[in-house]
C-alpha cells in the first residue's frame, strides 16, 4: 500500500544525512567531550560544529545555544529556569501554548507564581493589545509561541515584540520565551532582532533525531539549570553530551538552512498545503478549515499545518480510516491525543460539538510531494463519503 505521512508536526522522518551523522558519531566520535584525550576532543568538536550550524540558523552566536534532551526540556528550562528576581511573581502565557509551556506554568503556579493566560481569537491568534493590558509591574516572564502546533496559527511576533519593548523602555525587567518548535525550519527565526530572550527548538520536528532540542539564551540572561551536575553546556544542562543526537541535529539544521535560503522551497511547501486544503474543502460538503485562512498573503497562516473539521464524523474514526488507506494524520496535537479528547486549542478558539469532535490535523514537510497531496485529498474525500454513508 502507498504510504503518505502527513503527521510531520508530531514528528518527522530523519533525513539520510542525519542518520549518517548519528552513526558516525556513535562509531567514530564515541568519546566523552569532557575527556581530555583525543577521543574526547573529537567528540567535543562534533558538538561544536553542530552548535555553530544550529546557531547560524537562528542568527545567533554559538555560545548562546544550550543543547537539551528535547523540545519539552528546552521549554521547561526556559519557563522554570528564569529567576523571578526580587519583585517578579507574575507570568503571562496564552491559551494555545503546547502542554510543555502550560504545564510548566502550572508548576510555577504551585510555587505561588500567578499566571495570566491570554485568550485567542477564532483563528487561534493572540491580540497584542491583550498582552499590553495583562503586563504588570511584577510580570517577569512572557511565554508566547511562534507557530501553534495544532492549527498553524502564526502569532504576531513583531507586534508582541513592540509591546514588550515598550514595557521594557518603561524600565521594567521582563524575559520573553518563544516556543518556536513548530516554526523552526519553516519560518525565519530572528530572536535577537525581536528582543526574544529565550527560544526553544526541537530537532525531531525538522527531520533531526528525537531526544535533542536546543534553547537559545540571550546574552546576560540568568537561568537556573533543570539538570545540575558536571557543568556541561555552560552549566545550564549537565550530563554527558548526547553527541550523536547533537551531531544529527546539526546535520538537520544544515539541510533546513539550505531549504530556508531557497525561497522556492517555502513557496512550494505553502502551495502543497493550499492544494490540500482547497482540494478537501471543495469536495467535502461541510468541511471547515480551523485557524487562519490559507492565503499566501496571510502572515498568520503557517505553510505546513492544516486543521480541518469534518462535522458528523469523529476525528479518531476518520484518522483510522485514513490509516487504512496509508495516510497518517493526527487529531489535535500528538501529545494531547491520549487524555484530552477535546483539544484545548480548538476549545480556546471557540469550537464546540461536531466541529470539535471531527477535527483532523494534516501537517506537511519539505519531503511531501504534489502526488502525495493528491492521493491524500482523493482518499480523504472517499473516506469521508464512506463513513458518512455508514453514519447516514
Amino acid at each position: 500500500m502507498r504510504e503518505v505521512y502527513l503527521d510531520n508536526s508530531a514528528t518527522t522522518r530523519p533525513y539520510p544525512e542525519v542518520v549518517r551523522a548519528v552513526v558516525e558519531a556513535m562509531e567514530e566520535n564515541y568519546g566523552n567531550p569532557s575527556s581530555l584525550h583525543r577521543k574526547g576532543v573529537e567528540a567535543g568538536r562534533a558538538v561544536t560544529r553542530a552548535r555553530e550550524t544550529v546557531a547560524a540558523g537562528l542568527g545567533v552566536a554559538p555560545g548562546e545555544i544550550v543543547f537539551t534532551g528535547g523540545g519539552s526540556e528546552a521549554v521547561n528550562l526556559a519557563v522554570k529556569g528564569v529567576l523571578p528576581g526580587r519583585r517578579g511573581r507574575h507570568v503571562i502565557t496564552t491559551a494555545v501554548e503546547h502542554p510543555a509551556v502550560l504545564n510548566a506554568c502550572g508548576q510555577l503556579k504551585e510555587r505561588g507564581i500567578e499566571i495570566t493566560v491570554l485568550p485567542v481569537d477564532g483563528e487561534g491568534v493572540v491580540d497584542p493589545g491583550h498582552l499590553r493590558a495583562a503586563l504588570r509591574d511584577d510580570t517577569y516572564l512572557v511565554a508566547i509561541m511562534h507557530v501553534n502546533n495544532e492549527v498553524g496559527a502564526v502569532q504576531p511576533l513583531d507586534e508582541l515584540a513592540a509591546v514588550i519593548a515598550e514595557f521594557r523602555r518603561a524600565g521594567r525587567r521582563l524575559l520573553w520565551h518563544v516556543d518556536a518548535i513548530q516554526a523552526y525550519g519553516k519560518l525565519p527565526q530572528r530572536p535577537a532582532e525581536l528582543g526574544v530572550d529565550l527560544l526553544s527548538v526541537s530537532a525531531h520536528k525538522v527531520h533531526g533525531p528525537k531526544g535533542v532540542g536546543a534553547l537559545y539564551v540571550a546574552p546576560r540572561t540568568q537561568l537556573q539549570p533543570l539538570v545540575a551536575g558536571g557543568g556541561q553546556e555552560a552549566g545550564l544542562r549537565s550530563g554527558t553530551e548526547n553527541v550523536p543526537g547533537i551531531a544529527g541535529f546539526g546535520a538537520a539544521a544544515a539541510v533546513i538552512a539550505r531549504e530556508a535560503r531557497d525561497s522556492n522551497t517555502a513557496k512550494k511547501l505553502f502551495a502543497l498545503k493550499k492544494r490540500l486544503v482547497e482540494g478537501i474543502l471543495a469536495a467535502v460538503p461541510g468541511a471547515v478549515l480551523n485557524g487562519p485562512a490559507c492565503r499566501e498573503d496571510n502572515p498568520r497562516c503557517a505553510p505546513h499545518i492544516a486543521n480541518i473539521s469534518f462535522p458528523g464524523l469523529r476525528g479518531e474514526v476518520l484518522l483510522h480510516s485514513l490509516e487504512g488507506r496509508g495516510i497518517y494524520v493526527s487529531t489535535g496535537s500528538a501529545c494531547a491525543s491520549r487524555k484530552n479528547p477535546g483539544s484545548h486549542v480548538l476549545k480556546a478558539m471557540g469550537l464546540k460539538g461536531e466541529l470539535l469532535e471531527g477535527a483532523i490535523r494534516f501537517s506537511l514537510s519539505y519531503t511531501n510531494t504534489e502526488e502525495e497531496i493528491d492521493y491524500a485529498v482523493e482518499n480523504t474525500v472517499a473516506a469521508v463519503e464512506e463513513l458518512r454513508a455508514l453514519y447516514d
Binding site: R314, S321, E323, S337, L390
Partner: protein, 396 residues
C-alpha cells in the same frame, strides 16, 4: 525482614471433602503469583498455608494480596527455638505492627502476647512464654501496656517442631475463592470501565476467565486494541494468564449500520456479540458469559433490552455489577489498576456508532424483524474466521 507468611483462607476451609482440591489449587495459585519474586516454598500446615520467601516483603505481600481465596496474611519471622531470638523477634514484629497504627499522643499502645506451643518438647509452657515475652517487650518498648481483652496489637508466637513463628501484623487478603475452582467463563471485554471490573468480580468467585473483544479496525485503531491487551495484563495480576479472543467485528457493524433501523442498532449489535461469544464459549468449554452490564436507564442496560439480547443464546450470563453504583465500580476499577487504562480515550466498537435515540424498551419481535436483512450465519462465520487468539501473560 519477614521471611514467612501465614495464610488464612476462611471460606474454602468449610468445603468439606472438596477441601483438599481447593487447597491444592490455592497453593498452586500462590506459587504462580510469587514466581517473579524469586524462590518461594509453599506448604500446608495445621489448616494454614505457610509461604517462605526471602524476597522483599513489600513485594511478596503485594503479590499475596492479589491471590483470590486468601482471607488474611500474617507476615512472620521464622526463628530457631531459642528464647533470646524469640524475644528479639517479638520486639521487631511489635515495632513493625506499631508502625502501621495511628497513635494518639499521651495514650499508651496496648498489646498482648499469644503464645501457642504445639511442640511439647519445648521447655516453656504457653503461659510462661506469654509472661517472658511480654516482660521483654514492656522493658524494651517505651509507652506500652498490656490489654488482654482488646489489644491494639496481638503478638502471636507459635512454637512448632523445629522453629518458632512470630507474627504481629494481620493483613487483610482479597478473599473469595481460588481462581479455577469454579470453572471457566468468557468475559465480554470492551475498553470501558465496567467490563474489567466484572471480570475481576467473576474471578473473585473462583471463575477462570477468557476474554473476548470485538474490534472494528480500521474504525478503531491499534491503540484501542493495545488498551484492551493492557486491561487483560492488569487483570493477570490476579490470575496466571488470560486468553484474549479478538473478533473482527467491522463487517458486522457495517452491515448493521447499513441495514437496521437506527434505534435498534445497539440491541442488534449486542445480540450479534452474544451469538459470537456463545460460539467461542463452546469451543473453549466455557460455561457462562460475564458482562459489565448493570441495570440503568441507558440503551442496553434496561431489563427489557437484556431480555431481548439474552434470547439469542442459552448460556447463563453473569452480570456481577448489577448491584453496584457507578461510583462503586469506579473505585473498584481504581483499586485493581484498570481505571487509568480504561479512561484512555480511544474509540472502541461500542462508542463508534452511537445512535441518537436508542430504543430503551425493545421487543423481541422488533429485533427479529430488524435482523431480517442480515445474513446472520455468514456474518458470524466470517467474524469467527478472522478471530485472533492472543495469550496475555503476566509481565515481570
Amino acid at each position: 525482614m519477614y521471611n514467612t507468611y501465614m495464610i488464612r483462607y476462611g471460606e474454602i476451609g468449610l468445603k468439606g471433602k472438596n477441601r483438599p482440591a481447593f487447597e491444592k489449587r490455592l497453593m498452586g495459585n500462590i506459587s504462580r503469583a510469587l514466581k517473579d519474586t524469586g524462590p518461594a516454598r509453599v506448604q500446608r500446615v495445621y489448616g494454614r498455608i505457610l509461604v517462605e520467601s526471602a524476597a522483599d516483603p513489600a513485594r511478596v505481600l503485594d503479590k499475596l494480596s492479589k491471590v483470590f481465596g486468601i482471607v488474611g496474611i500474617g507476615p512472620a519471622l521464622r526463628l530457631p527455638l531459642d528464647e533470646e531470638a524469640i524475644c528479639e523477634g517479638a520486639l521487631a514484629a511489635l515495632k513493625d505492627a506499631a508502625a502501621g497504627i495511628k497513635k494518639t499522643p499521651g495514650t499508651p499502645l496496648t498489646f498482648k502476647v499469644e503464645a501457642r506451643r504445639s511442640n511439647k518438647q519445648f521447655p516453656r509452657t504457653s503461659p510462661e512464654l506469654n509472661g517472658l515475652i511480654g516482660g521483654y517487650l514492656l522493658k524494651n518498648y517505651p509507652g506500652l501496656t498490656v490489654d488482654v481483652h482488646n489489644p491494639q496489637i496481638r503478638v502471636r508466637v507459635e512454637i512448632r517442631e523445629k522453629n518458632a513463628f512470630i507474627y504481629a501484623a494481620d493483613i487483610l487478603g482479597v478473599g473469595g475463592l481460588p481462581v479455577g475452582a469454579s470453572g471457566k467463563a468468557l468475559l465480554l471485554l470492551s475498553g470501558g470501565i465496567d467490563s474489567p471490573v466484572a471480570g475481576w468480580m467473576a474471578m473473585k468467585r473462583g471463575i477462570e476467565i477468557e476474554a473476548v473483544h470485538f474490534h472494528s479496525f480500521p474504525f478503531t485503531g491499534e491503540k484501542s486494541l493495545e488498551k484492551v491487551r493492557d486491561l487483560c495484563r492488569a487483570l493477570t495480576a490476579y490470575t496466571a494468564r488470560i486468553k484474549l479472543h479478538v473478533v473482527h467485528f467491522t463487517d458486522i457493524q457495517k452491515d448493521i449500520q447499513k441495514n437496521c433501523p437506527e434505534e435498534l442498532r445497539v440491541t442488534i449489535m449486542r445480540r450479534m456479540m452474544f451469538r459470537l461469544a456463545k460460539r467461542i464459549a463452546g469451543q473453549q468449554e466455557a460455561l457462562a458469559l460475564v458482562t459489565g452490564e448493570s441495570v440503568g436507564q441507558v440503551a442496553s442496560q434496561t431489563l427489557e433490552s437484556m431480555r431481548v439480547i439474552n434470547q439469542v443464546i442459552d448460556l447463563p450470563v453473569l452480570r456481577p455489577l448489577v448491584g453496584m453504583d457507578k461510583l462503586e465500580i469506579i473505585h473498584r476499577a481504581q483499586e485493581i489498576g484498570t481505571y487509568d487504562i480504561s479512561v484512555l480515550p480511544y474509540e472502541d466498537c461500542c462508542t463508534l456508532f452511537l445512535p441518537k435515540h436508542p430504543a430503551t424498551r425493545p421487543r423481541s419481535e422488533q429485533a427479529e424483524e430488524a435482523e431480517k436483512p442480515l445474513a446472520v450465519e455468514d456474518l458470524l462465520a466470517g467474524a469467527l474466521e478472522r478471530t485472533v487468539v492472543e495469550d496475555i501473560g503476566r509481565k515481570v
